[in-house]
Amino acid sequence: MRRVLIANRGEISVRIARGCRERGLETVAIYSDADAGAPHVSAADRAMRVGPARASESYLNVDAILRAARESGADAIHPGYGFLSENAGFAEACARAGLTFIGPPASVIARMGSKTAARAAATAAGVPVVPGAVPVDQTPAAIADAVRLVGFPALIKASAGGGGKGMRVVRCADEVAEAVESASREATRAFSDGAVYVERLIERPRHIEVQILGDVHGNVVHLFERDCSLQRRHQKVIEETPAPNLTPSVRARITAAAVAAARGVGYVNAGTVEFILEGDGDAAEFYFLEMNTRLQVEHPVTELVTGRDLVHAQLRVAEGEPLWFTQADVAQSGHAIECRVYAEDALRGLLPQTGTLFRYREPSGDGIRVDSGVAEGQLIGVDYDPMLAKVIVHAGTREAALARMDAALRDFVALGVRHNVPFLLKLIALDDVRASRIDTGLIERRLGELAAAPAAWLAAAAEAVAKSGLVHAAMPAMRGASRAKGRDPWETISW
């Protein structure tokens, strides 16, 4: 490998380019028309245009990306996350074009991409999945038998289901008959298919995932877990490692299960095995959820706590190198937390926001890392994911890491587009977060507090600042960017 094309954009493209440069590899960025002036373009040694703003015609355009690789003389492709990273067809097309795909083999991506095949693979490797049963026939008696087999509380779900339709929770035997009947009736109405199946209901689940790394010689190690329970609408907001309150015995079991799942499918390169965790202490149970066959957004927390650079590792594995360390060499040191900064307004239902970054300044200092793909003057549009940056902190303890995160976020100045930093600050200050009482439903339950408007006295102080006459106008370089918004900040301002 000599020259790597990074088939992505934004912060992850910038981060991969840095990793490649540190390994002495040349880099090629790709960009759409919307990203022509974006930081990830200048972060690489050269850049190739792959199409218009629409992702389907640019960052998802396999033909254009392969052409860019050929024309730039790249011999390898790093897919990043999202876009084509878990597309088996793309991995295969890279191989056919004689390019090294920096990730697992296409066959593994395809297998893990199917929920049922992934579940079967996990089961075959002896990894627990959420207990479930498909009734032998759909008579009320057979369904009731399935419920008893799975145990309480159970969830009766429509086979054809989605969106919570045809779903019933049963907590004891008395509730079964009525729940079966109403779930089936609702499923028939919604999907013209009354068939149901039964799954154990996981209450207050935590999302725990394990970072794994495999080489082409059959070696697989884990780099411990991450807790990603702070989510909303299935989107992760804060990730941390080590997972709070995970006992050594559960940690040993869950990491061993992840390695077994990875070995079972012949996993190569960096990947993540996701689990849901239920219960506390040594009695906590975990179940396989899915496997992500790529670098994760939240990989930096693992890097800070294990001291292992995952992009370097991906590149070395892709070059065929056997793993250069053993499981015994991997240890967790301190505590790391990542906050994802999104251009989303908590006061407006967390809807994506657009605007020009009239002022942008990232926090820095000991134990603070910011991975970003934006710069001052940039227009934040609607074409892609609204993530602006990731703020990652590392400290000796979780408490110290939370304090460091609080200070770092307060020092994160992004003016010109509404974002979720105020929301993140309130989230890390929540009593339940401080006390490590976190689960995937926490944000939804506390949304009222998290999305509260600022206090009136603070708003009055902000108003005084705005009207002080001491506030400067944005830099002239941003004039073009703001015109795209249909406005001109250079109209004279008067009070």
Partner: protein, 132 residues
């Protein structure tokens, strides 16, 4: 309630200090896009500012049509001076892969079209103004 008197001073380039005698906070602020953006005590404020020569909008005989969220303009179907009927689609926006038409709430005449195809629009300003 007595409104506290906030005194604002400059600390360094771009950074300000605001104090009411008991509390002293540092603030980052910039003017852009017709607003003052203020970062203060972990909270973000976007405060619209008046602009000289700014056109008054949304009078009682006017209706300013503003999008619900930031979006991209994919079609502009009217031009100033054009008469429209209630329910006519004036502009089609797209955000998060969904199309959202902006329709005339009542019959009237288009007095301003503040957007063009391909541009981004935000909830902060009207995309079309109708006189009724």
């Amino acid at each position: 309630m007595v409104t506290p008197n906030w005194i604002v001073t400059r600390r360094d380039e771009g950074r300000l200090q605001v104090s009411d005698g008991t509390r002293t906070l540092s603030a980052d602020a910039v003017i852009g896009g017709g607003s003052a953006w203020v970062w203060l005590d972990g909270q973000l404020f976007e405060i619209p500012i008046e602009r000289r020569g700014g056109r008054a909008r949304g009078g009682h005989d006017e209706e300013a049509l503003t999008p619900q969220m930031s979006a991209k303009v994919i079609r502009v179907l009217v031009e100033p001076g054009q008469a429209v009927a209630a329910g006519d689609t004036l502009v089609v926006l797209e955000a998060m892969k969904m199309e959202m038409p902006i329709r005339a709430p009542r019959a009237g005449t288009v007095t301003a079209v503040n957007c063009a195809e391909g541009e981004l629009v935000t909830p902060d300003g009207p995309v079309v103004v109708l006189s009724l």
